[in-house]
Symmetry: C2
Subunit: 199 residues, 2 copies
DNA sequence: ATGTTTATTGACTCGTCAATCAACAAAAAC
DNA sequence: GTTTTTGTTGATTGACGAGTCAATAAACAT
């Protein structure tokens, strides 16, 4: 059965299976055997390629963050194409927010993954690092378009927006029926208020 | 050794130990034996009084929510005493926010407990119920003082404030040095913006 | 005194699971 | 065609942990 060049395929399958398994269980309390079975292989092979359960989780977290990043980047380039001159910054800010609440980031497994990776980040240095990267990139993206609009208040507003995005995410995750549009609406509304009230 | 009337004392000790143990571990992946040892008894006794690990966690969650509720109630009555006439509602709203970021709710164990209870609420119906109670009470508290100030916009604004409180909480939890004052400041700032911009 | 209720634990059961290893299979290299 | 590299797994190890139980002991009731 061994086909050559299996490593990348196996790794990807395991990462996908890990995200799905955590999504189903709702917690990181899942076994390597469950993940491996879902990925169609033995648990020994999972250990062979990743070395430990922890490494599988970290790879899954990288995948989640990477998907999120792609979502935001996509929304940003779409916005750049569509935006009327003079409103580019507003349009980009809205794109970042919409990207954060894209359907993909809002699937059940993704939400479960995020929640559990928050918990993982409390104890695992690498997980914490990855989450810091995410937060810094978001902050920096927001600042880039806020500074031209509100100057010195950019940092403060970006912090608020970042926290609001996270908070709305969790609210939606815990409500039975996450409504991505409404969630994004709350954040967009907050942005409007901040921009309206600029001195 | 058996002194009579030990049950309530033992239960309280176990709840306290559970919160501390989860706080130290940063996850719910702790053993009944660890909790029991910390509470100064055998794991058998912990099972005797609570029946299962799950029940211990739920009791701990109730305790955390109860402490939070007390904090907010305290801040509200203090605000009622101090507030100048005509600003009562603003003062009460600020009190709710400050109560949410009281030092007590911001200790390491409390933050760990909150994060992990969010995760628990994904799978455990009783945990979800408790979290819903918390969210509803917060929403209702906020609405009570927002309605006189902003009328129909109250519900929308209360949702935003609730999500922002949760989000800021998590940001602070994941930053090494949670700064309760700064955290409360972000939410208070958001409130001011919403009230300033009232039509 | 004697029986009942409450408190308490050590020892045990039964299961689970991460990680390892020896062994087998197929492709590639030489 | 044999050796080496890559892929793969069943079986095993070693540890740990939730929940049970029988047994002990102190207080209380009568």
């Amino acid at each position: 059965m061994p086909k050559l060049g299996a490593e990348p395929i196996r790794r990807a399958a395991l990462v996908k299976a890990a995200i799905e398994t955590v999504g189903d269980a709702g917690s990181l309390d899942v076994t390597v055997a469950q993940i491996a079975r879902r990925a169609g292989m033995s648990s020994a092979l999972a250990h062979h390629y990743f070395g430990s359960k922890e490494r599988i989780f970290l790879a899954a977290m990288r995948e989640i963050l990477s998907l999120y990043g792609a979502e935001v980047r996509g929304a940003l380039t779409a916005a750049a194409a569509a935006a009327v001159e003079g409103c580019v910054h507003q349009a980009r800010l809205r794109a970042i927010i919409r990207g954060s609440f894209a359907p993909g980031s809002f699937r059940r497994e993704a939400i479960s993954a995020w929640l559990n990776f928050y918990v993982l980040a409390r104890t695992n240095p690498e997980a914490r690092r990855l989450l810091t990267v995410y937060q810094r990139r978001l902050q920096s993206n927001l600042m880039h378009d806020l500074r031209p609009l509100v100057g010195d208040r950019a940092a403060e507003i970006a912090s608020g927006l970042g926290a609001l995005i996270d908070g709305v995410y969790i609210r939606a995750a815990l409500s039975g029926e996450p409504d991505a549009v409404q969630a994004a609406g709350i954040v967009l509304h907050h942005l409007d208020r901040e921009l309206e009230c600029a001195p």
